[in-house]
């Protein structure tokens, strides 16, 4: 079906005397059941498809997108792309359309998730609310079935269909809260009641929170906190960002920045990962050893960035045209063997952080981030969790934090709210900078 739309776009372009055509097709359905105050309050579904056409005319290129996929809509989209392209100045750096290369498919489609009904999601929500007991629960249960494809007139035919299910829950007591979230390409992997139990345990454990002064503490970041904090620097592993001198890796690639144990890989084929095995131009994604033994040593290259640098494209380019070039999107931070209990037991005085929130970059080169703890922050004394704590603001360099790693847990698929899903471990880190305490 999607290839028919491509052919229609090619024919419409040919009528305008244009031969070089690239098409992105996206289609699918997304549904989300949202609950708050122990009841479903927002319950939505969306079905959509779109066609995005990029044309090359000499050394000019531009893109037009439509969701009106009848013959007139496609012809109008191509005409708009042609008009926009012709209005561009010549770009000597513009590359011809990509040639096809073999793409290793990944199976991330689950029929049960694709067919998940509103009633199934509602039953999951009801089970979670029951598990939360006397606590107030809020959260989401979403499922989606999405297809994306890239075609071009050089012969690229890249297609990927993927399902995704997510469940997230916040449970609230009088002066405390807890949170848990999971995602998988299979809704059957999610256990709403178990996630509710985790969130409820955190809310109960953090009741009557104590206030301790801000300062530098040893922290144990659970995987969601690692994802949303450490994950912030991953777009810096980009050849274009480095060429623009806006990456923290500018003049630092092949310099040891992190603890020896830090290994970071971009791997679309990892069994816990998600996403298509090709990039915005339809090139196959390569596996990148971004950091080894604490040293950033590899970066992503789009075709254009690779040509400038005399390197090989890695299949991480964004849809063209764009300003940003490329970025790794299937991050795996390798884990260690420590359990969370072992990390806590080894800590005489520290803070256990369930998740971090509203993280923003304060200093792009030193990778200083600010943000808040949220939904479960605990005091550790003499190797035991002894109390819930009022939440802190942090101002902390990611580079410094990765240098101060003491222990690593098992790497697991992790969902947060600030970054896309990654595979990351819990981390024990010393000298983590909390700068203020808030009111709850």
């Amino acid at each position: 079906m999607s290839e028919n739309y491509f052919e229609a776009a090619v024919q419409a372009a040919a009528k305008l005397g244009i031969q070089d055509v690239e098409v992105h097709y996206r289609a699918g359905s997304e549904a989300l059941t949202r609950f708050a105050n122990n009841a479903i309050h927002q319950n939505v579904s969306e079905t959509s498809q779109s066609l995005s056409v990029r044309l090359l005319i000499g050394q000019k290129s531009a893109r037009a997108t439509t969701n009106r996929l009848d013959a007139d809509g496609i012809a109008r989209c191509v005409a708009e792309a042609a008009a926009l392209t012709r209005s561009m100045a010549d770009d000597e750096e513009l590359m011809p359309l990509a040639d096809p290369a073999p793409i290793t498919p990944v199976d991330r489609y689950d029929p049960e998730t694709a067919l998940c009904s509103p009633e199934t999601r509602a039953r999951g929500v009801a089970a979670a609310i029951r598990e939360a007991g006397s606590l107030t629960a809020a959260g989401i249960y979403s499922t989606e079935d999405l297809t994306e494809a890239v075609f071009n007139t050089k012969g690229i035919r890249a297609m990927h269909r993927e399902t995704m299910a997510r469940f997230s829950i916040t449970t609230m007591a009088g002066d405390s809260s807890g949170w848990a979230k999971a995602s998988s390409v299979r809704c059957g992997d999610l256990d709403p009641a178990a996630l509710a139990a985790t969130a409820a345990r955190k809310a109960r454990l953090s009741a009557n929170p104590r206030e301790i002064p801000a300062g530098a503490y040893t922290v144990i970041l659970e995987p969601a906190a690692v994802l949303d904090f450490i994950g912030q620097i991953m777009p810096g592993f980009s050849a274009t960002a480095i060429a623009d001198q806006r990456s923290f890796l500018t003049e630092r690639l092949h310099t040891k920045l992190f603890d020896e144990r830090i290994q970071i890989t971009d791997d679309v084929f990892h069994p816990l990962q998600s996403g298509a095995p090709f990039d915005g131009e339809g090139l196959p994604r390569q596996v990148l050893a971004l950091a080894r033994n604490g040293m950033p040593q590899a970066i992503a290259y789009s075709r254009a960035a690779a040509r400038k640098a005399g390197a090989v494209p890695t299949g991480h380019g964004h849809e063209l045209p764009n300003d940003t070039g490329e970025a790794p999107e299937n991050i795996v931070i390798h884990g260690g063997s420590a359990t969370l209990d072992e990390m806590i037991a080894s800590t005489p005085n520290g803070i256990l952080v369930s998740r971090l929130w509203y993280i923003r970059e304060v200093d792009p080169y030193e990778t200083i981030m600010t943000g808040m703890t949220r939904d479960g922050t605990f005091l550790i004394e003499d190797g035991r969790v002894t109390a819930g704590l009022r939440n802190f603001r942090f101002n902390q360099s990611v580079i410094e934090a990765l240098s101060n790693v003491e222990m690593l847990g098992e790497a697991v698929r992790t969902s947060g709210e600030e970054m896309f899903d990654m595979v990351v471990p819990a981390m024990k880190i010393h000298g983590f900078g909390f700068t203020e305490v808030t009111r709850f």
Binding site: A36, T47, S48, T136, Y358, M372, E417, R439
Partner: protein, 484 residues
């Protein structure tokens, strides 16, 4: 378009199980252009058409959206909306109740003097490239970037109470920045403000009025000069904020806390809740006596990103007191949340990103009304710091503790601008901060800023909001905490 919307409404009501339904059919187009270091970066346009059907059945909400506007597509969406609503009965407390609203029939179009889509793309790129060239003329600028965004959307709203509302909005946005990398430090200056620049509900006249090129040499010079500037000191200082930074301060520490859905817990799992619990209404001293804040969607407030004739559940635009003489006076409400707290009418703040999303309570134009001071009076401090243009922003999930970073600052000694500081940050607690306000510049310095990228909801919706402000002063504020 109207016929399709009415067809969808009929499909939603035909089964007889629906006690309320409304339909939004939205047709939109946009153009996005950008430049980087002398080259076109992005050149893209898009068009989009679809409808969303919202129903109440068995006392629960259901919503389904589709881009398939065939008869079969519309029927399927209506059926799904009802099925979704009925599933909600598996986890519900009571039936949804809505504050009353009249039926309205209206057509409204936002002001647009120069159609941005009629201005040739070549001319738009030429303008951006002229600015780019000017920025990179300054030695030390390592990256120049600029962008223009234009959008037009027409929405037909119909509802089971008989409303038929046709609204068309045109939005324009423009901004640019100079980056400078030197000695392990990245500095940046932006104009008219950062993160995409200034956005308003206007046509291309906005771009022409901003005198973009004229400011480029100063912006480039400041980006490079920041490397030589002293680090912003850490301590307690009198703080003066320019109006775009103050606009974001309003957004984060007043705008979000007054969302009544947030107060009532609807956003608890994602964006969080609010310190403005119901007992604070009419009792909390939110700010000093000179602080007056309104939530104003009417055209008289200006062409903000939150200006309209009717919100997305058919309630007329209103101007509502949020803070009057420092006292907390009102929330932003919807028909459902107004009913939940016993108010007789929504104040009209429900908006959806497009046809495919459910309307939520969103900031319209939440603005600090101008004060009476001259700029000289605002700057009349013995030992203060003046900060300009946002660089980072963060606030906790109940909106107490915030920290902002700005691109640039200057010390103010005895009312005069002194040394430049780099990497300025400031932080505080929302109500303490607004109670520390003791000077607000007058209407001649008031600007209605547009923030195009406010995120809220699950699935997340990105919405434009408006915030008017003039430069203001705050006493004894913590400065410099971002750099320990």
């Amino acid at each position: 378009m109207k016929d399709r919307a009415l067809e969808a409404l009929d499909a939603a009501l035909r089964t007889g199980v629906t006690t309320f339904a409304d339909v939004r059919l939205v047709e939109s187009k946009d153009r996005s252009l950008s430049t980087k270091n002398g080259r076109a970066g992005n050149a893209a346009s898009s068009e989009d058409l679809g409808l969303g059907i919202r129903v109440i059945a068995e006392g629960c909400w259901g919503f389904a959206a589709t881009s398939d506007l065939s008869k079969a597509g519309i029927e399927a969406a209506a059926k799904l909306a009802i099925e979704i609503a009925r599933s909600g009965a598996l986890a519900k407390h009571g039936d949804v109740a809505l504050a009353p609203e009249d039926a309205h029939t209206a057509t409204w179009t936002s002001a647009c003097e120069i159609d941005p889509f009629a201005v040739p793309v070549e001319a738009q790129f030429m303008h951006l490239l002229d600015i780019d060239r000017e920025l990179r003329r300054h030695k030390g600028v390592t990256m120049a970037e600029g962008s223009m965004q234009f959008s037009r959307s027409r929405q037909i709203y119909v509802s089971s109470i008989g409303s038929v509302i046709d609204q068309t909005r045109t939005v324009s946005g423009v901004g640019y920045a100079a980056h400078s990398f030197k000695d392990d430090e990245i500095q940046k200056r932006s104009f008219p403000t950062s993160f995409g620049g200034q956005y308003q509900q206007r046509g291309y006249e906005l771009i022409r009025e901003l005198d973009l090129l004229m400011h480029a040499p100063r912006i480039a010079e400041e980006a490079v000069a920041l490397h030589s500037a002293e680090q912003c000191p850490e301590g307690i200082y009198d703080l003066i904020l320019e109006s775009s930074q103050l606009g974001l301060q309003i957004h984060e520490s007043i705008g979000h806390p007054i969302e009544l859905d947030r107060v009532l817990g609807s956003e608890a799992n994602y964006a969080g809740m609010s310190f403005l619990t119901l007992d604070q209404l009419n009792t909390l001293k939110y700010g000093s006596d000179i602080v007056n804040v309104v939530c104003d969607a009417t055209e008289t407030h200006g062409p903000g990103l939150g200006t309209f004739a009717f919100d997305d559940e058919g309630v007329p635009a209103q101007c509502v007191d949020i803070i009057r003489d420092g006292q907390f006076r009102g929330y932003m409400t919807s028909r459902e949340t107004a009913s939940a707290i016993g108010q007789t009418r929504s104040n009209g703040t429900m908006r959806a990103t497009s046809w495919d999303r459910l309307p939520l309570i969103r900031m319209t134009n939440v603005s600090l009304l101008p004060g009476k001071q001259s700029l000289e009076e605002v700057f009349d401090v013995n030992d203060g710091i003046f900060m300009e243009t946002n660089k980072s922003w963060s606030i906790d999930d109940k909106r107490y503790n915030f920290q902002f970073g700005c691109e640039i600052a200057w010390e103010i000694k005895n009312g005069k601008r002194g040394r430049m500081f780099k990497n300025p940050t400031y932080s505080g607690i929302s109500t303490e901060f607004w109670n520390a306000c003791d000077a607000i510049a007058g209407p001649e310095h008031w600007v209605l800023w547009g923030i195009p990228n406010c995120g809220k909801g699950q699935p997340e919706q990105v919405m434009g909001t408006g915030h008017g402000a003039s430069p203001s002063r705050f006493r004894k504020i913590r400065v410099g905490g971002g750099y320990r």
